[in-house]
Structures are given as C-alpha cells and as structure tokens.
C-alpha cells in the first residue's frame, strides 16, 4: 500500500516570499505570517455568558473580553469576536477544541478555526501609515492602545484586527486574522500598499 504524508501547507505558502520587497533600504513595514496556531471560536450558549466567562478565567487565568479587546494569558490570547463570543489563540496544542470542550462543557459552543484563518503580524515604523490604506479603524496610539481589537474589514475582506504587545524596540504590533481562502488576495493588496515603504517579509511559528 502507498504511504501518505499529510503536509500542512499555509494558504500563503507560495505567495509569501521571505526577504525584502518594494523600496530598498530600511524596511518601513515588517510582515510576518504566524503559522501553525490553534484557534477556537467560543460562543456562549443562551444565557450562559457569565458561566462561560468564569470557566475561561478558571482555565486560562484571564477574564474573557466582553468588549472589542484582546487579552493575554500566559499561554493564550483571547480575542473578542462578537457579543458573548471570543477566540482562543494559542499554539502547541494547549488549547484545542478537544481540550477546551472539557472546560466549557455546556456553557459554550466551540468551533475549530485553526485552518480557517491566516494570521499576519504587522509592525514597523510605517505600519500605521500602511494600515491606513487598508483599514477604516483609527490606529492612533491613543485610539487603539495595546489590546484594542476590531472585527472589521480590509480590502472588502472580513478580518479580526488587534494590537499586540509592543516589540522590544517600542514599535507597535498589529495582528490580522483573515479568512484562509482570501489570504493570498489580501496579501497581495498588503504588499502593494506597503511596497513604497520597503517591506521585510518572513514567517514564524511564534505568536507575537
């Protein structure tokens, strides 16, 4: 019998060419695709939002966001995705639909989105300037602080956007979760938008 290998392939596998892009010199925008994450949509059962929040706190150590925010626990990021619902983003199989099912039992419905999204982390001196071409959200530091999140659209494509912790050099980090089948299309739009600032492209398995 034939042998089967199940290679995991990011939708951006071919479109993403690591290295510099656009204007040469210091890259104003840094684009990093985060690969191989676990992403679970958690939606409260009717009338169970309070129990869901408690269960989240008990398991993950942080309260589930009840407004457009992203909160960080020791090994997961909880990102608001709508009223009484949020994503759990993690890596290494720590928080999957299977493991979270025990936590949320009858409080919430879980849906695996690990393969449904592509995660792009955007930083750099020109990150905000570039993102202003794609997003109607005000990303001024006062208006979109660390942990701010938005369910919004970019390039007519539905995305979840949140600001992660700043990098060690103080630069802001913006994370974009986009539906997997739209990812190549959005990627090209992002490259077009960023090219004039110079781009550094890479991928990583570490969550920003």
């Amino acid at each position: 019998m034939a042998e089967f290998s199940w290679e995991v392939r990011s939708p951006l596998d071919r479109a993403l060419v690591a290295g510099p892009y656009g204007v040469r010199g210091d890259a104003g925008v840094s684009l990093t695709e985060i690969r191989n994450f676990d992403l679970v949509q958690v939606m409260a059962r009717r009338g169970m939002a309070g129990d869901m929040a408690k269960a989240a706190k008990a398991r993950l150590g942080v309260a589930a966001p009840d407004a457009p925010k992203a909160v960080q626990s020791s090994d997961a990021t909880l990102i608001w995705s709508g009223p009484d619902q949020f994503f759990v983003l993690s890596r290494g199989g720590k928080h999957t639909t299977e493991t979270l099912a025990q936590t949320f039992a009858s409080f919430a419905s879980l849906s695996d989105q690990s393969h449904a999204r592509v995660l792009i982390s955007i930083s750099g001196a020109k990150a905000r300037t570039m993102l202003a071409k794609l997003s109607s959200i005000d990303l001024h530091p006062d208006a979109f602080a660390i942990g701010a999140a938005a369910a919004t659209s970019m390039d007519h494509t539905s995305v979840t956007l949140w600001r992660g912790g700043d990098k060690s050099d103080g630069q802001a980090v913006f994370n974009v979760l986009v539906f997997a089948t739209f990812a190549v299309s959005l990627w090209h739009t992002v490259l077009d938008s960023a090219a004039e600032y110079g781009v550094a492209i890479g991928h990583s398995e570490e969550l920003a």
Partner: protein
C-alpha cells in the same frame, strides 16, 4: 537655455532660480523654474494664447491663478499618461513637462473651427436642443459624433493608465480646508488645544493669499510669520499638513473626501509610489478656510487673452515674478483691486490706467496715480480690442456718458470676491446673501462644519486670522480638547468698499461662463424663453456645468438673470451645490481595485495543486475554480470534459467542492432552528446521517439548498451553494438573532476551515479503502447512503466522510482541515492511481448534475417554488418554516406554473443552448405563447447527445410532447422533446449501491 523668459522679473518671487526647468508647450520648448506652475511659466515666457474655447473656438488665455480656472486647460503629458483638461494654473512645472493646447485644429494659432464665431448668432443657448431634434435617428450616428469633435475639450489617453492610485483613511478631531491665514490660525488654535488636526491645502505651498498679497502679522512680514507658524505646526506631532490635497466633499457622519496629488508634480511617480491618493478623512469637526474666488465683471471682449483677474495678476507678479503685462490697466469696483496696482508698481511695471466703477476714489489712490503717472477713470470697460496676441486697447464708458480709450497690454479685473461656499453647501445648505459684500456666504453647513475667514465673507487679513483662530479653538473644544490656545495672531483689516457691478452693456460677446462659452445674452435669451429658474437656466445654457463647475461664473450669471427678470439676487437664488469641489480622477476612486485586483479573489485549498495539473480556472463569484483539466492532444474543452465524465461514470474521479458554504450549527436547539429555516425536518435526523435540505425566502420562493449532517446531538454541519454561502450565513444569523432569539443555537462559518472533495464513481470505495484507516467500515452496511461521520485516515489525521452524491454515482465527500487540502489532493491521486483516478472540474460536475436532473443555480433563480423544482413534497405540513405561508399564495400554487422538466433535441445531433424559449409546436413565437425557457444544457457523454433542463408551463404533465425551442439571440429554431429530468439512473441504484 531655450528661451529668454522675457516676462520674468529679475528678482523676487517664490521660485527657485537655481533650479531651471525645461518644458514644452504645443511642441515649443520653454524654460521656467522650480516653484512655477505651468501657467506662471507660460506667463514668464510671454505666452498669452493657451487654448480655444469650447463652442466658438475663441482664443483664450489665462484668467486665474488657481483651481477655479475656466480657460487655461491643457493636455498634460503624452501617451498613456496624457491627461485632458488639466488646469495649467495648478499643474506644477517639472523638468521635461509636455503640454498641448486643446480644442484646436490644425494649430492653436490657426484654428479652422474658429469659423464657428461667424455663425455665433445661431449657436445660442439651447442650440443643440433646438437644432438636432429631428430626425431622431441622426442623433447617435451623425449629430453627436460631430458635436463631440467640434465642441470637445481634451482627448482621453485611451490607453491603460500605467500609474497606480490608492486610497487611505485618516482620523482627526479637526480637519481644516485651506492653509491661508484663516486656516493656519485655525490650525494653530486647534493644535495648541491638543487636537489632532489635518490641514488640507490644494496648493503645493501652504500660505494661500499670503504668498501673493503679503501683509503684516504680529508685526512680522507675512512671509516671516508664515515660516514661524509652519514651524510651530510642524512641531506638533498630531498636526498634519497635507499639501497638494483638496478637500472635495463631505459625507455622512463627519467623513470627508480629499484627493492628494502625491506625484503629479513629477514626470513619472517613483517606483512603488502612487500618482494620487484618495483620502477618507473622519473628523469630529471641520473648519472651511477655503478662501474666496475673485469674480469677473462681464463685458464685451472680457475673454481676450491677458484679461485676467486682478488677484491672479498680482499672484503672477508677486509669487512667480512673472509679468502677464508690462503696462496693464485695472478695472475694479472695489478697493481690493487696487492692491494689484500697488504690486505691479512695486515690481517696476507701469500702469496704463485704472477704471474704477465706483463714484469715488480715495485720496491715497489718487496720489498714487499722480505719482506714478496714470489716470483714474470713473466708468466701466465696455470693450476690448485685441485677440490671440492679447490686449491692445480698452474702451471705457465713462460715468458721465462719454467714452474713452486706454492703450494697455493687459487688463486686470476685479468684481469683488465670492466666498468658496462649495463644501458648506454640499448637504443642501443654501448660501445666504450679504448686501455689504454683495456675495453669498455659507449657511446651513453640515453638522460639525463651520466656515472662517474669506470663505465666510470676512475678507480682511485681521478678520481672517481672528475668525480662523476662533473657529479652530471652538472646533477643538467641541472635540474635547481644552489645551491653552495662547494668543491669536493679529493684523489690521483692509477695506473692501465694493459697489456691485456684474455686467457692462456693450457691443460684442460678453462671457459669463468662459469654459462653456455662455454669454450674457444667452442668459437674457433663457429668461425670454421662460428658463428663469436658476436650475433651468443652468441646464438650458449649460452655465456652470463645465469642469470648473462655474466657480468664476455662477454668481455673475444669476446676478444677470436677477437683473433681467426684475428680481433681487437672493430671490433668484443659487443652484444646488454638489461635490466634488474639483474634478477627481476615476482612477483615484478605484485605487488598488483594477485589473486582476478589481475584486478580492478566493482560492480553494487545492488551487496550487490544480494549477500544477494545468487546470483551466473559471471565476465563480470571487472564487477561482478548476473548470476542467485539459490533457495533451485534447482539441477543446468538450473533449476534456467528456473524458472526465466518462472516467467518473466508469471508474473514479474527484473534485474540490470546498467552495460550498459550510456552517457549524451548535446548541441544544440546533435541530429546532433548522426545522424553521428548512422546509423539511432536521430535528429527527439521527446522529451520523446527512439529509438534503431546501430553504425558502420569506416570500415562499426557493432560496438555497444543500446537505446538512448531524455530527452530534447538539451539532449540525450545514452546507450551502457556493453562490449563496455568505448570504445564507447572514440570513441564518438574522433568523437566530432577530426572529428566534428564544432558541439556544450558535452559528459559525467554517467554510474556510475545511477542504472538501467529492469522490465519485463505481470505484470510489476502492480508492477510499486505500487511504482510510483499515479499521473503518466502508461497506454499504457500515457506511450507508447519506451516512456522515469522522474517520481516521492512514498517515495519522482525521477526516469527515459524507456519503452523498451530486453526480448520481456511488460517491463520498471527504473533508479535512484546510491546510491538509493540498496534501489531500495529492494523496487522492496516489490512492486512486490503481483505479485510474481522474480529477474533474466544475464543467464535468455540471454535466453529471444535469444528467442526474439535480437543480442548481439556473433553476434556483429566485422565481421558482419548491414544487416548480419537483421538490414540493419535501414541504412539511407538520411544522412551520420560513416561507410556508407565502408559498401558498394563489400564483405560487397555480397549476399552469412553469416547472422543471428535461429536454432532448428531436434531432439527436443538435446542440442545445440555454436561454432558448419554449413555444408550443406549430405556433408563432411571441409573448402570448411563450411557455418557458431552457435553464441548463450539457453534452451528455453517457447519452451521447445534448440534453437540458427547462422551466416549462405544466411541464411535468407534458412528458413526451414535442415543443419548439426558439432562440432569437442566436437565430436558432428547433424541436425538443419534454422528458423526465432524471436522464441517468432514474431509480438511483448506482448512488446507493
């Protein structure tokens, strides 16, 4: 240096004399300096004639120095970058600029069509309406093309634009239009308050009239104050100065449109940069400090080259050190016009005379005149002797009735100032009339917007600074910023002392709208013919309808209308103002979304594998789907598709069906929820089974269909058609949140989570046995038709397997998490190799569904009921569901409805085409006996002939009847037989076996 710049002053001006630039106009080489506009460089080279007018092909020069310019329109650049109707007055000069005049042939100086002037008496207002009425069919063929040739403006490039454009958002507390004294003062106040400020300036240098008029502010010369202020603004991190940016419109919720000409000042944008960028600015408050536009006085010959607005003339002299005339005269009705005399004298020019329409001239001006040896005439200019080489002599009607003549080589005209009321009027605000300045000022501005300075009718420098500073401070405060504004800049105020004068009677054409060649007598004619309302006047004469939108002409036009109709100007009123304030290129609105990026695209998980196989892709909504997989030697698509169908029907094939919408339906009430949205019942579906479902719209017509599987007691997996995936998700969310909030159900789109493949054909099970863990029972008993469950695959991952069939063959659909999709396709090829597995595309999929009589998009057309599609029996009578009541309406259950039926050509060799109409045999085609149409067709390799589906009146009762297919679009007529729509395996044995 290719030219002398004969009209350039030896010193002064905001030009960089160390940066000379060569440019070409109508093929002739000239030179100018960095800091010039094309217009100022032409002025500096003594070029007076720059274009021909729209209707009469009259020679025209440069009237203004700003974006209100009606005459000096050129074709800028060449080839694919050629831009028609570019205003020379705002186009920045760059090295190698090429421009050509418009609307002339064979040359600007010798224009054949200027013969139109001889026929001027017939080219009056409404000429086209009156003349080209009959015969109607001549309009498209003869009249319109001829008129367009004769009365056009510039020529479009007619090549794809090689440049890029983009769009961006910006957010602020206060957006300010204009960086003149009022705008700068507003920015200072708002910025010092701590507000986030965006200051838009359409010029490439901030400063507005300060750049031309100078003055003293806070005891400093204007230029020094400007430098100090710009430095202070630059030091504020949240104040953003955007030059080359015009705020052109205001939209709901405090959103403003602006166009930034990022690289229009360069021959070609630098690599990776855009030419223009469209901004959507979201602002809490807006200060319109857009200034005012000096208005002409209408008199005979007022369109002669080198008759120029007085403010423009001093801009050319002071800002650009270029002299439109060496010995100009001034015609004014106000004090401001005299500033041009002062500027000209300071530059060493002579003044031929000042014609002041007012009764009285100040002693200071009198002594200026006597000191500099020019006369001051009380009266009005009634005619200009001149032509394409400019002004020679000016006729003056003196106040006492006598006439005088003045020899001059240019004429500066000032009729007063009109505040730029565009932005404040775009939400149907009607400007109000102010007698003291004889001008309309803003009224009824959109919420959050206020005008300040000249835009508000406050023309003095001191008043501009005062109003601007106050408006900026209030706007910042209203936006919640309360920092210390510090002191307002101060300056003294100049007098305007205006006596209104709109039109001077005289012999010869007197132009109101120079761009559209509308004369004072056209307005009088419109009034005589009853087109007295300003909106009628505008459309009848085309006054104000050109690319300049009548910035210099509208108020004069309605003042003349007021005079001839015996009304006051405010009674006559203004037309409605609409954005954009300046023309905006469509390319800027399109931005990134052109060519391949016209819309977002979606790729299936196996896309790259399919591309490797040489698949031909088809756009299906946003998706790229593999349509067929051609093989070497196949001569056309039909041969490939036929091979794919035969391979499936005789062996096994697979197709990526990941484009179907997929929705997780969770919760204790998931079954009850599905019972309400589908016409059939799902609450009684057992775990591990799939069922076909059909949903209706509220109006009772079919909305969508698909299979839904129950994976757990509280978890269903619902699929939709590709086309309706997003809409069905929205519909279900609406049902969940609004219609049935009492149900405990949660929905998640998982369309992108799963890569799903249909595997079909009699050898499907053989293939699956290769790849599915041997412990899984795939037998008919272990995995019966419509079974659905998770299975383990060899190699260590899990998949969902559904025994459902669209093709009519023994078939499964298998889904794996999407990042395994490409591996899945490769592994299916490996697993199926012994069985001759064949990947197939959407065409073969479509052929097999037609053979099987399954309805799809063409039948689910939004006009069909469940019964029309032969699915009426699925409608449960034991429960309520969306669309149930409305589906019972008389017309929807009428016995003569057009219903789905199969068709076969009587001549077996004939090709069918969808869209053909069904007519009873022997009858003449027409609406009275049209009985339906062909919805789907295919060549059936199985039956070796074309077959189709059609919606036909009482079709199911007429099986076997020969009817006529009438296809007027393709000129085809033929007979077809109505038949059972299930052409293939009607008892379904193959898919159950």
């Amino acid at each position: 240096m290719s030219s002398s710049q004969s009209h350039r002053l030896t010193s002064g001006g905001l030009i960089d004399r160390s940066a000379p630039l060569n440019f070409r106009f109508d093929g002739k080489t000239f030179s100018g300096f960095q800091g010039d506009t094309l217009a100022s460089a032409l002025v500096a080279n003594g070029v007076k004639l720059v274009g021909r007018s729209f209707k009469y092909h009259r020679p025209r020069g440069i009237l203004t120095a700003g974006s209100e310019e009606p005459n000096a329109l050129v074709e800028l650049r060449t080839g694919a970058r050629r831009e028609a109707n570019t205003k020379a007055t705002t186009a920045e000069l760059y090295e190698g600029l090429e421009a050509a005049s418009q609307n002339r042939w064979p040359s600007l100086r010798h224009d054949v069509m200027s013969v139109n002037q001889l026929f001027a008496p017939i080219f009056v207002a409404g000429f086209y309406y009156k003349t080209f009425m009959w015969p109607a069919k001549f309009w498209e063929m003869i009249y319109e093309p001829a008129i367009r040739r004769a009365a056009g403006l510039g020529r479009a490039a007619q090549l794809p634009d090689p440049d890029h454009y983009d769009k961006a958002w910006a957010h602020c507390d206060v957006v300010i239009a204009g960086s003149g004294p009022a705008g700068l003062a507003a920015a200072l106040a708002a910025g010092r308050s701590g507000a986030r400020v965006i200051l838009c300036e359409e010029d490439f240098v901030p400063g507005g009239r300060l750049l031309s008029d100078g003055g003293t502010i806070d005891g400093l010369p204007a230029a020094d104050w400007l430098a100090r202020t710009l430095a202070e603004l630059a030091s504020m991190p949240d104040v953003r100065m955007m030059t080359r940016t015009t705020l052109f419109g205001v939209y709901d919720g405090g959103t403003y449109g602006a166009i930034e000409r990022v690289n229009d000042h360069l021959p070609v944008p630098p690599e990776h940069q855009v030419r223009q960028r469209l901004w959507r600015i979201v602002a809490k408050r807006c200060v319109v400090a857009a200034g005012a536009i000096e208005r002409p006085i209408v008199f005979a010959g007022n369109d002669t080259p080198d008759v120029m607005m007085a403010s423009a003339m001093r801009t050319y002299v002071a800002r650009y050190a270029a002299t439109p005339a060496k010995r100009p005269a001034l015609f004014t009705n106000n004090e401001d016009g005299w500033r041009t005399v002062e500027t000209a004298l300071a530059a060493g020019l002579q003044i031929a005379a000042v014609i002041d329409a007012r009764g009285d001239v100040s002693p200071a001006h009198r002594s200026l005149a006597s000191k500099n040896g020019f006369t001051v005439l009380h009266g009005s200019v009634s005619g200009v002797d001149g032509g394409k080489d400019g002004v020679r002599k000016i006729s003056v009607s003196l106040a006492g009735g006598a006439r005088a003549e003045v020899e001059a080589d240019g004429l500066a005209v000032s009729g007063g100032w009109n505040p730029a009321v565009g932005l404040t009027s775009y939400h149907r605000g009607r400007p109000k009339w102010r007698d003291d300045i004889a001008a309309f000022v803003p009224d009824g501005a959109p919420p959050g917007m206020v005008a300040a300075g000249a835009a508000n009718g406050a023309f003095g420098l001191g008043a501009c600074l005062r109003e601007g500073f106050e408006a900026g401070a209030v706007a910042a405060r209203d936006a919640g910023r309360n920092g210390n504004t510090g002191a307002a800049p101060t300056a003294s105020d100049e007098a305007l002392s205006l006596t209104p004068l709109w039109h001077v009677a005289g012999k010869g054409k007197a132009f109101v709208d120079q761009q559209h060649d509308v004369t004072a007598s056209d307005i009088e004619l419109a009034q005589r013919e009853g087109f007295e309302s300003v909106e009628h006047l505008k459309r009848y004469t085309t006054l104000g309808m050109a690319t300049d939108q009548g910035k210099t002409s509208n108020v004069a036009g309605l003042a003349i209308m007021a005079a001839v109709s015996g009304k006051s100007i405010p009674e006559t009123g203004t037309t409605i103002y609409r954005p954009p304030y300046v023309p905006v290129a469509i390319g800027a609105f399109a931005g990134h979304h052109r060519d391949e990026a016209f819309h977002a695209t979606r790729l299936t998980p196996s896309h790259h594998w399919a591309a490797e196989q040489g698949a031909i892709f088809v756009d299906t909504g946003l998706w790229k789907r593999a349509q067929w997989y051609p093989r070497a030697g196949e001569k056309d698509w039909l041969e490939s598709v036929t091979r794919e169908v035969k391979a499936v029907r005789s062996g096994v094939g697979f197709c990526d069906v990941s484009t179907l919408g997929k929705i997780d339906v969770h919760g204790p009430d998931a079954g009850a929820f599905l019972d309400r949205v589908y016409i059939n019942t799902f609450s009684n579906l057992t775990v591990g089974k799939a069922r076909y479902g059909l949903m209706l719209r509220e109006d009772g017509l079919v909305y969508d269909d698909g299979t839904t599987s129950r994976l757990a007691e509280d978890h269903y997996f619902l699929t939709t058609t590709t086309a309706k995936a997003g809409l069905v998700m929205q519909h279900l969310e609406f049902c969940r949140q609004v219609l049935f909030p009492e149900l405990d159900v949660q929905l998640t789109s998982v369309s992108d989570q799963w890569a799903q493949f249909s595997i079909a054909g009699p050898k499907t099970r053989d293939l699956l046995k290769e790849i599915v863990d041997p412990a899984e029972d795939l037998s008919n008993e272990g995995f019966p038709f419509m079974g659905a469950r998770e299975v383990a695959l060899r190699g260590g991952i899990k998949a969902r397997l559904f025994r459902i069939s669209f093709s009519g063959e023994m078939a499964f659909e298998i889904s794996v998490p999407a990042r395994y999709g490409e591996a899945m396709a490769r592994n299916l090829m490996i697993a199926g190799k012994p069985f001759g597995v064949t990947p197939y595309g959407t065409e073969a999929l479509g052929v097999m569904r037609v053979e099987k009589g399954h309805v799809a998009g063409p039948e689910l057309s939004g006009t069909t009921t469940a019964a029309d599609l032969g699915l009426g029996k699925m409608m449960s009578s034991k429960k309520d569901f969306i669309g149930r009541v409305m589906a019972g309406r008389e017309a929807l259950v009428a016995p003569d409805r057009q219903v789905a039926v199969g068709i076969k050509p009587v001549d077996k060799a004939r090709r069918l085409r969808s869209g053909a109409h069904i007519i009873p045999k022997g009858q003449t085609p027409g609406p009275d006996n049209d009985q339906g149409y062909v919805t789907s067709v295919c060549f059936s390799p199985t039956l070796d002939q074309w077959i189709g589906l059609a919606l036909v009146e009482r079709g199911r009762e007429r099986i076997g009847e020969i009817v006529h297919a009438h296809d007027p679009l393709r000129g085809e007529d033929y007979d077809v037989e109505l038949c059972n729509p299930v052409f293939y395996d009607p008892d379904g044995g193959r898919q159950r076996g």
